[in-house]
């Protein structure tokens, strides 16, 4: 008998029909002799709607109160899911994050897990019941209700899988797995049968929305294999594990595209110590999530500094940057919303030099201009014009051998 943690995202439980469909899948899993823990997100756009409600009531939104508000979404789903299970003869019981003992620190809206007790889940499983857990939430060491940030229901699932020593952690979403590229941009993209934690981490960092970065980080650090799959097709998805790739595997696992960022450039910055700190400290204080930063070597005693950040934060960031630019005597500030980030990710990169060169050559041959470059051991990211994105992504996908018919491994056997 295996213990399986299943997490269902917002689109998977968006309405009563979807909730009943998920309940059927839980019943099938249970009937196969497994113990099942179900982690649920809020239904559809519930969290967004609650945030909009808060916005219309008050511009002052203490984190503690936002957490009191937002945690209700997952509780509603958990209660409804438990009823749907009862309706088809599956004995189930719902739990809040607090009730299952997901203990966090006291940082409201972005709490970190300190400990997962899980006693009530263990009792429920021992009694032959399905445990349905409201995701995204915990209780702080100060006994306050906390949330762990957007997408943190994945984190709830991996943390419970770890604490309960589960045999599998299935992340059900609205796509059938992790793809070599976003199929809306690169039609020849393929679903990966498996991917290494490190690659998944880099993909999430590069803008892939399939799994939240923090959840992958937790799963990697605690070695909780994740199975990302669709609650609409129920077909086998992508396993995210710590399995090293084979030598026969392609060097690159995927091409990741991201159009959610804007670029800000500070022109003619005096080249002296402390300038970068002067610029990025106030941005950090304002919670602006700066992504790529590029600074060239100074030639005439001044340099240009460019960075990317979420478009949503552009207004706030530009205000700060203009103020700092004036203080430090820079020549000016420009911004560009029409940029895209394009990354190639692959664990094979570590042992295979020349990937960056190949990427730059491929883009050059397509006439795509590169504005910024940033690299890690297993990822190369470039910033290009949004208008070039589709063409560039498709070309790289082909150049790195990711197109259909070039599958690099047979799918793993489906769950029994």
């Amino acid at each position: 008998m295996a213990l399986i943690v299943q997490k269902y995202g917002g689109t998977s439980v968006a309405d009563p029909d979807r909730i009943r469909a998920v309940a059927e899948n839980v019943k099938i899993t249970k009937r196969h002799g497994n113990d099942v823990v179900v982690v649920v997100s809020a239904m559809g756009k519930t969290t967004d709607n609650l945030i909009a409600l808060a916005d219309s009531v008050s511009s002052t939104q203490p984190g503690r109160e936002m957490d009191m508000l937002l945690t209700t979404g997952e509780r509603v789903t958990a209660a409804l899911m438990t009823m749907a299970l009862a309706d088809i003869g599956v004995d189930a019981v719902s739990f809040t994050g607090s009730q299952v003992g997901i203990i966090t620190d006291t940082a409201h809206r972005k709490a970190k897990i300190v400990e997962v007790k899980g006693d009530r889940v263990r009792e429920a499983l021992a009694a032959g019941r399905v445990a349905v857990v409201a995701g995204f939430q915990g209780v702080s060491t100060d006994k306050e209700i906390t949330t762990m940030g957007r997408g943190a229901s994945d984190l709830t699932a991996s943390a419970l899988a770890k604490a309960l020593d589960a045999d599998a952690c299935e992340i059900y979403t609205d796509v059938t797995g992790v793809f070599t590229a976003d199929p809306r941009i690169v039609p020849q993209a393929r679903k990966l049968a498996r991917i290494h934690f490190d690659e998944m981490l880099e993909m999430a960092g590069a803008g892939s929305k399939v799994l939240a970065l923090r959840s992958v980080e937790f799963a990697r650090n605690h070695n909780v294999p994740l199975h990302v799959r669709s609650s609409f097709t129920w077909e086998a998805g992508t396993w995210v594990t710590n399995e090293e790739p084979n030598v026969e595997d392609p060097i690159i696992s995927g091409v990741v595209t991201d159009v959610s960022e804007a670029k800000v450039t500070v022109l003619g910055v005096p080249d002296r110590p402390g300038i970068s700190a002067a610029l990025f400290e106030p941005l950090a204080a304002a919670n602006v999530n700066v992504d790529m930063i590029v600074q060239n070597t100074s030639t005439d005693g001044t340099t240009d500094i460019s960075f990317t950040m979420p478009i949503a934060d552009l207004g706030e960031a530009e205000e700060i940057v203009r103020r700092v630019a004036a203080e430090i005597g820079a020549q000016g500030v420009t911004h560009d919303r029409d940029i895209a980030k394009l990354s190639v990710v692959g664990a094979g990169m570590k042992s295979s030099p020349g990937i960056a060169a190949k990427m730059f050559r491929t883009l050059a041959d397509e006439g795509v201009n590169i504005e910024m470059i940033s690299t890690s051991t297993i990822r190369i990211s470039v910033v290009i014009a949004t208008a070039d994105l589709e063409r560039a992504a498709r070309t790289l996908h082909t150049a790195f051998g990711l197109d259909s018919g070039q599958a690099y491994s047979a799918p793993l056997p489906e769950r029994t």
Copy 2:
């Protein structure tokens, strides 16, 4: 410095504008030097919507899961109210029923309060903060989330007022107080400045919707004076207290009308012991809330038994009654949806004989036929045809001296 508990019902917090208006009133109360505890209901039709959602997901609705579901409504309001207060500079903090230590028994959906701890509310007040409490809910002795039945936010307020030894408990609703009759039916109805707990209890039992019966019962048993008033006009409302009426007060405090019930009659019931039990036990088991019961003396060895119950339960009740009627050899079952219950309530009745006779004579003079009669020490209720209700209620209102211009006491001074 006084401690005031204020409870705001669903219509009082139905939308962001209403929530901000309520926050302003809390701020005014606080600025007058009072400590304030705010108890909130779910916004508008939230609870009904959640129940509809549960209905569309599952016909199996375990009480524990319904409580997990329904308690989210009040939590949303509590969080939003606290943010609205913060926005106008009032330091506030929200609490769930569990967090304030409203300990109940384990009967989900109709839990009874066992104990109110209130420690966190006391701490918040001591720190100069407003405590905003989610109504309607508690935590059971088994550490499960419970609810205390529809309208139980009033109960939360009175129980907290008692536990905290509050100076006043204000129940804000969408009417300006308790009236001598429903103004939609009796236009000359007047707002009462005060009313005795016992009269309010009888009014609630007779169908008045201003206060939930259990809340009045609790307030009476623990002597918590309630001030029923409107969150739309903020004018002084009606005090519900244990103050005995003056001899100059009218004998009757109000005329109460109720069209929510239907009448069922079992004809030709054999007159032998155990028949009533055979009939009403299965109804009780099916949770049918039987109200008035009338059985006449047998003449020919058989008798007729009539009773009233909520129209909503009529289908279920009739099925049970037809089965039992066949078993006990009764001649038949009839039902009537077009009936209304009309009651006069007044503490003065105890010391003033002849009220019933006067009521019956007044109705007879108006040509109103009485179908059933039931009495308590301070209430007389009759069942009549719905078509006669308006005329009958207005006539009684006049006959018992309740029309405008006959006010029986000056309003109490408004809160300072």
